[in-house]
Symmetry: C2
Subunit: 242 residues, 2 copies
């Protein structure tokens, strides 16, 4: 049963490893957590099933999915017919913004989260961005998150009338993927429930991660560095198709 | 034919009087304008047909509609089963935020517009907010718009990599409804194409504005003050059902 005496938070939950650990951090911080997921035309929409599993397993108060069709605007390999890059060296310094960047995605997601927080009376937003995920994504940087907090105070009735300050928590911001894997373990998050791959192979009810997109390579690198085995099934790891 | 040598702008176009005049201002400023409308679960979705008419009449380069179901989050008379207030004195100073406020709506709309602008290579956003429309809406204030510009520079690849500054134009910000009616006339905007009412009566293909919600009362007040007749059909004006 949710304890209504706890403060409320809104957590963006994609169903990936990072947002699952972020939700666990919000729970550990003592919040009753309302999870917000988006169906935004992503090719890997099986992550929404993962989000539902994760929300339930980690004791979220509820999870809602908002539909927003960003495909109408074009411009990303995550929503368009642009190829998802494979087998890149994700440990090399990134040059520029990768083709999987969805323009202003985190701005849109945080804006909707803010609207929901205002409706709920929550003042705390959680988002699972981190330095590794940054890898060229401008809207994963701390200065972006601080600018959003400044905007939030001006954008809302609560900020204007009652001087409410919204806080954007990004507990993974400074963590490597290795540290996130270990943090998941410490917080009891089952990473087998999560979905990370940008380009999964879906056969009947079985979902296989590709093992070759940036997201898979970063995730697998994190598990390897932590000396742990990823519980997920992969179609291919290190170029070897299974 | 669109002239591709003109700079591009993205204009939020609801189909109302204010956004129509804003689009006309963007055209007058020399932009090729991409219009962005939202189907967000609003009760008065016939405004989307008005947006399409207005975009065509004013020579927009294109108009796109993004679906985002804000009803999933609740909290406003514009999307929920909350009653739209009627017959209020809209000339009286507003106390607090009206029930037609949709939490963080302009933040969400500007965020999506920003994503599209980045995809298009546009740096200019137009939004039809004004002081009268403010009437308690926090996200219609100039300080909100400036905060959004600061966020935009940090939120985008173009802002980060090329130092692009996005500008949020709100050409109606300081205008009264009376001045907006006269500005429409000066710019050749046919306000008979627009739709303003929060709670219209729709019969077959005919749309009647209620004449009693805040939006209708503000609009009618603007026409009266300008000494002009509103070309729209109303179900009721000043309490008299026609």
């Amino acid at each position: 049963m949710p304890n209504s005496a706890r403060p409320l938070a809104v957590c963006l939950l994609s169903g990936g490893m990072d947002s699952a650990v972020t939700l666990a951090e919000a729970r550990r911080d003592g919040f009753d957590v309302h999870c917000l997921s988006f169906r935004y035309g992503q090719r890997h929409s099986c992550e929404l099933q993962a989000a539902e599993r994760v929300a339930r397993a980690l004791g979220a108060r509820e999870q809602r999915v908002v539909e927003i069709d960003l495909r109408a605007l074009g411009g990303s390999a995550l929503t368009d017919a642009i190829d998802v890059p494979k087998d890149r060296d994700v440990t090399a310094p990134q040059r520029g913004v990768p083709p999987t960047y969805v323009p202003a995605r985190n701005t849109v997601f945080l804006a909707v989260a803010l609207g929901w927080a205002e409706t709920l009376g929550a003042r705390d937003l959680y988002i699972g961005v981190n330095q590794v995920d940054y890898s060229g994504y401008p809207d994963c940087r701390p200065e972006f998150l601080r600018a959003f907090e400044s905007l939030a105070a001006l954008a809302t009735a609560a900020g204007t009338e009652q001087g409410v300050r919204y806080k954007v928590h990004a507990p993974l911001l400074e963590l490597s993927k290795r540290e996130i894997v270990l943090r998941a373990e410490a917080l009891g998050v089952d990473l087998g429930l999560t979905h990370t791959c940008y380009d999964p192979l879906v056969r009947a009810s079985e979902v296989l991660a590709c093992g070759r997109c940036d997201a898979c390579l970063l995730r697998l690198g994190g598990f390897a560095a932590a000396g742990r085995r990823d519980p997920l099934d992969y179609a291919s790891v290190e170029g070897t198709r299974i």
